[in-house]
């Protein structure tokens, strides 16, 4: 008969062996492809083609693009980092989301990367940690715009509006003609921040943006109230049920000519043309209250960062440095019909060419882009409260008070 001590010993040995086996499974090696974690699941084929350009010039390096669902990406990345997976390059959220990761010390600083020298200070600030060091190579640039159907505007003899009152007049005329003026979804609250930024950036002065950064902004001020009023003014011109409508439906409405306008980012241009290649579109930036220059809400939309613990540090760094070159930037812009952050990278389609030119002159980073992070989060509080106001659940005064409370709490951290 086996003794209890022997039984315990056997059990412990078996458990230890299991643990060792598990540990062995996760042990990494410097061989193998450089992994690139991304939330752009739909861009998998495009990225693989782009990385082929790199690997053809670097025969000793292979690349494995590993995309995940965007909404689950942060969770998957955090779990992988926590469990000590051998990550090489990761796609990094800009602004607060990326800063949180950079501040953990898990990323390698890139200040000495020569290829980053030509990037704008604003785009590098969006991928920097609290220590001021740069931790990411910015890839995409967003432009938040009002896309409009040129044929519908021409058909109803509506001129391209150049001021906010003209825009509201155009909406009223379209509605009078029996059309849905704006195909807009408000189901996911973040779409309402996009809507706000696209139409209201011109309503905020540069002084308000500075005040946001130095902690003295007042989200109950008349200036901020007036800017939010622009979104509230649009309520009669969006589908009555827009809070319960998904963005896919809004996009389909616009693409099929059932609505005259659609407010979102420039990244929706290609999907809209995929739905209807004959769609004649142009865009409007954020319009001034009276005659004057427009402002184009823009910001960094994603970057790639190097894990400090990468077992393939040199190869991963070489790939990342290439991602900061014009060759990558142009391939990115043409493959995905997006605006690249890389200086000198050229867009191909006419709308993006026009956007790139306009961003250079009237591009403005909306303060909300820099306000994410923490609990409660100012941007999340704002957009959810805005949904509540549009749905009639809370008053506009409550929206301003909640945003201000969240802002003050964020400044105290």
């Amino acid at each position: 008969m086996i003794s209890r001590r022997a039984l315990l010993g056997t059990a412990l040995t078996a458990t230890s062996l299991s643990a060792l086996a598990m540990a062995g499974c996760s042990a990494g090696s410097s061989d193998g492809p450089v992994s690139v974690y991304s939330w752009r699941q739909e861009d998998g084929d495009g990225y693989r083609k782009i990385f082929d350009i790199f690997t053809q010039a670097h025969a000793d390096i292979t690349v494995k693009f590993e995309p995940f669902n965007s909404t689950d990406y942060d969770q998957i990345l955090a779990t992988a980092m926590q469990s000590g997976d051998n990550l090489d390059l990761i796609q990094l959220r800009p602004y607060a989301g990326g800063r949180e990761i950079a501040d953990t010390g898990d990323l390698a600083p890139l200040d000495d990367m020569a290829e980053l020298k030509g990037f704008s200070p604003e785009s590098l600030a969006a991928v920097s940690g609290s220590d001021g060091k740069v931790y990411g190579v910015p890839t995409a640039q967003n432009a938040l715009i009002t896309l409009y159907n040129k044929e519908i505007f021409d058909q109803h003899k509506i001129a391209r509006p150049s001021t906010w009152p003209e825009f509201l007049d155009a909406c009223a005329a379209l509605k009078k003609a029996g059309l849905v003026p704006i195909a807009q979804s408000g189901k996911a609250a973040y779409l309402l921040t996009i809507l706000y930024q696209a139409v209201a950036t011109s309503a905020l002065s540069p002084a308000f943006g500075k005040a946001v950064d130095d902690g003295s902004a007042d989200f109950t001020s008349q200036e901020f109230r007036d800017s939010v009023q622009r979104v509230l003014d649009l309520k009669p011109y969006v589908p009555e049920s827009f809070i319960g409508m998904a963005d896919d439906e809004a996009r389909a409405m616009f693409a099929q000519g059932r609505a005259a306008m659609y407010i979102n980012g420039d990244y929706r241009i290609k999907p809209l043309l995929d739905l209807n290649p004959k769609l004649q579109m142009d865009y409007l930036a954020s319009l001034p209250e009276a005659t004057g220059p427009v402002q184009l809400s823009t910001g960094v939309d994603g970057a790639y960062a190097l894990m400090a613990s990468s077992p393939r540090l040199e190869q991963a760094r070489a790939l990342l440095a290439w991602m900061a070159t014009e060759e990558f930037g142009s391939a990115f812009a043409t493959t995905f019909s997006r605006l690249s952050q890389v200086p000198g990278a050229k867009a191909e389609d006419p709308l993006h060419v026009k956007l790139a030119e306009e961003i250079a002159t009237v591009g403005t980073e909306n303060p909300f882009a820099r306000l994410g992070g923490g609990n409660p989060d100012v941007k999340a509080e704002f957009e959810n409260a805005l949904q509540g106001v549009l749905g009639g659940q809370i008053s506009a005064d409550e929206l301003f008070a909640k945003t201000q409370e969240a802002y003050q709490a964020s400044r105290q951290r």
Partner: protein, 308 residues
């Protein structure tokens, strides 16, 4: 003669202690995937977190933030109220399931067909069910509004997922549609286990169908009520996937369909506030675990035989 040989010939056999080793793989898996995460969650709720990195011990500060500081305390209360409404709705679903099961119990022809028909939705994943119903309930292109328009009930057409009351009601109705088949099967199995002689005796004594249902079927299916009530409570307080699939992580409109499961997800993985707050999420998860365990035990005690 060896022990095993003796055992094989029908003699008194002694089980070798080595047999316990067979439980080891299961125990290791259980320990790694159940006990370890629970213990880690318990521990994490007492620490400060920066992203996913554990910082200093902060005692009960996470619980204090969660339950006393706005806006989180308001979010917790709001989510709890929705979970409680879901539990109340699951109880109503149980009553309906009991009635349907009693009717099916009377059927001699077609019972299997109806059992299969009611149980069919249960075979689908809740995520799939959620996405499908989201399409059906869509205000612009949904099948439900199209059907109402087609049969002349346009006045009832509605943006089902756009207002707090109808959105929560829609989610609850879809959940009930998905789960009622299981409750019917459990009740039916419980009813079929009641000896037919009891029913025959009752009928001979002149008991009405209602009296038989209330005085015989209801008390003799107590064990089914007990397990379904406990599962209903746990299910209501665990609600996540269906609401997530139909409404997203924030429980729109303006937290009108928020639940503790969604709030936990946003806290722990970054939806509530943009960045992960694992400590706060763990504190919420631990609180949920304690409440669910306590209520489940209480329910089991309430249904204990001999108390009626």
């Amino acid at each position: 003669m060896s022990r095993s040989l003796r055992a094989a010939r029908g003699g008194a056999a002694r089980i070798t202690p080595l047999v316990h080793l067979f439980a080891l793989p299961a125990l290791v898996v259980y320990g790694v995937f159940v006990l370890y995460p629970i213990a880690t969650t318990l521990l994490n709720s007492f620490f400060e977190f920066r992203g996913m990195h554990r910082g200093a011990w902060i005692g009960l500060a996470n619980f204090e933030t969660l339950f006393t500081k706005p806006p989180l305390n308001g979010r917790v209360l709001n989510a709890v109220s929705h979970n409680l409404i879901m539990f109340a709705a699951s109880m109503l679903t149980l009553v309906l399931a009991f009635v349907i099961a009693a009717l099916l119990h009377q059927l001699t022809v077609g019972r299997e067909f109806f059992k299969a028909a009611f149980f069919l939705p249960r075979l689908l994943s809740l995520i799939v069910v959620g996405f499908l119903w989201q399409l059906i309930l869509s205000p612009q292109s949904g099948a439900l509004n199209a059907l109402l328009d087609a049969v002349g009930l346009s006045a009832l057409s509605h943006a089902w997922l756009a207002t707090p009351a109808s959105a929560l009601g829609s989610v609850i109705a879809v959940g009930a549609w998905h789960s009622i088949g299981f409750a019917i099967l459990v009740f039916l199995a419980s009813m079929q286990a009641i000896p037919s002689t009891i029913y025959e005796a009752a009928r001979l004594d002149g008991a009405s169908a209602t009296r038989i249902l209330v005085s015989i079927t209801l008390p003799l299916t107590r064990s089914a009520w007990m397990i379904l009530t406990v599962l209903g409570f746990i299910g209501a307080f665990e609600t996540f996937d269906l609401v997530y699939a139909m409404q997203g992580a924030a429980g729109p409109p303006y937290y009108g369909t928020d639940t503790l499961g969604l709030l936990f997800y946003r806290l722990a993985f970054g939806g509530e506030g943009g960045t992960a707050a694992v400590g706060l999420g763990s504190a919420l998860a631990l609180s949920m675990l304690v409440v669910m365990a306590a209520v489940s035990l209480l329910t089991l005690r309430l249904f204990r035989p001999g108390r009626s």
